[in-house]
Amino acid sequence: MTINTPVTDARPAISLRNVTKTFDAGGGLVHALDDIDLDIAPGAFVSLLGPSGCGKSTLLRVIGDLVKPTEGVVEVNGRSAEAARKAREYGMAFQAPGLMDWRTIRRNIELPLQVQGVPRNERRARAEEMLELVRLTGFENHRPRQLSGGMQQRVAIARALAFQPKLLLMDEPLGALDEMNREYLQRELLRIWRSTGTTIVFVTHSVSEAVFLSTEVVVMSPRPGRIADRIPIDLPYPRTDETRMTEEFYHAESRVRTALHSVLEPVQVG
């Protein structure tokens, strides 16, 4: 329980200072991120929410050291993002499953463990565990193409969790799932997060998903990508399907929606 309560005076797990990212998009410079300051406490579950083009995916990739910021500093657990990546502290899941066709489902989940040189037996055991977690036991020897898109995405999540990373970076991983699978995996994700103490940064454009999952929702505004608002979500854990129907949930959702609308309004007026 205590593990997920952000401790304000502890060193943040992720710390961004004056992070700016500009892309040269042929026609001119695109300001994907503009002067981002953000601290994320260890064990927090932070959602990045915003309209498309607000730079939330770019921000996630900057934290994950897949994209270098043009300016600014990114620190993860007190060292550079690059050092954290090299120390293999990141687990990542993307919008598309990105499974490897030539590997069976089990071997896809084993890949991160294989990269880290985990022995075969242990890999296999962990993969079985992960398959059970995402309810795909029995499919270990199937090929990705034999699975539906939703099932593939569950495999991708299992792969990201396989080596119990300190930091989980997720880019709309549930976006392609049907409602039932999505809500199931939201609950599972919360359960995993609470049992492991992993810090999770989660990109989404679903307000209710962000509210249900997060300790804090970071609302971003587009062109240039900026942090518009940070809304702590105080709903008590464990959150269940009943939580979604409470008045507190509705209020939290409304607060986030209001912030999101204020991000969009100036564009319409001006």
Binding site: L66, W102, G138
Partner: protein
């Protein structure tokens, strides 16, 4: 959903697909052969211009031992040329893929080189290796096979799915791990695309090289000599044997691909 209920219809549909793919081709082939046969008889076409299919089949039966022993030598040369060309092509592709920066320059050079009519080298190779030596034929075929295999494999090794690249990068995988687990398996389909083109080219290369002289019993020599002696039914029968050889080699490549890259033939779930 049990494993069995997933696997059973899959296998059935593969067989169904093969029948559906082959059936029209066989039908069209049969119609052409019948039309050919009728045309020869109706218009009283002389055998030295165009023998009827039935006459070619009869000649094939009559000269079977001659054709078979010629085909044997030619088959060995075709396989030798295909293997040598493929092996050198794959090795060259690996070397080029290691120096990614220069890859495009090399590919352009190779594209220019591959425009040269390689069969024109046959007389030169005859002078180098001796006209009756198998090597003089294999060398021609190998060079012809080399180009498509090398180009396709290089492109396959260089093109990594962006998500796979990001995943491996986030795991801080080494260049070697990326090569073994992503680049190589990802290049296998391209390699076989090149090999399918190469299989046909190898037969062409060997037959044409044999026109320029070779051991008395080889299909190319048989075709050239029988035509010179106006034994056209024999020429046609030998041409038919060469076509059959081309088909068999092409089929063999497809069969090997199914064994090496079974994932490519797993039908999608929907």
């Amino acid at each position: 959903m049990t494993q069995l209920s997933v696997a059973a219809p899959v296998r059935l549909s593969i067989r169904g697909n093969v029948v559906r793919a082959v059936y029209p081709a066989v039908l069209v082939g049969a119609v052409i052969l019948i039309a050919w046969e009728l045309a020869v008889h109706l218009f009283n076409i002389q055998p030295y211009l165009l023998p009827a299919p039935s006459a070619i089949v009869a000649e094939f039966g009559k000269s079977f031992s001659t054709i078979a022993s010629a085909a044997q030598i030619t088959t060995i040369a075709v396989i030798g040329g295909a293997l040598l060309g493929a092996a050198t092509g794959v090795i060259a592709a690996f070397i080029v893929a290691l120096f990614e920066k220069f890859a495009n320059t090399v590919l352009v050079l190779v594209a220019i080189l591959s425009c040269a009519p390689v069969v024109a080298l046959a007389p030169i190779f005859n002078a180098w290796f001796g006209a009756t030596s198998l090597m003089s034929k294999i060398a021609v075929a190998a060079i012809m096979v080399f180009f498509p295999v090398m180009v396709a494999t290089t492109k396959g090794l260089l093109s990594v799915h962006p998500l796979h690249r990001e995943l491996m990068e986030s795991l801080s995988a080494s260049r070697f791990q990326l090569m073994v687990w992503v680049r190589i398996p990802g290049a296998v389909p391209s390699l076989f695309d090149g090999m399918r083109v190469g299989a046909t080219l190898s037969v062409i290369g060997i037959i044409v090289a044999e026109y320029f002289g070779g051991t008395a019993n080889a299909l190319g020599v048989l075709i050239a000599n029988s035509a010179a002696l106006s034994q056209f039914p024999l020429t046609w029968a030998a041409v038919a044997a060469a076509s059959l050889l081309g088909l068999v080699v092409y089929g063999a490549v497809m069969l090997i691909e199914r064994l090496v890259a079974p994932w490519r033939f797993t039908p999608a779930s929907r």
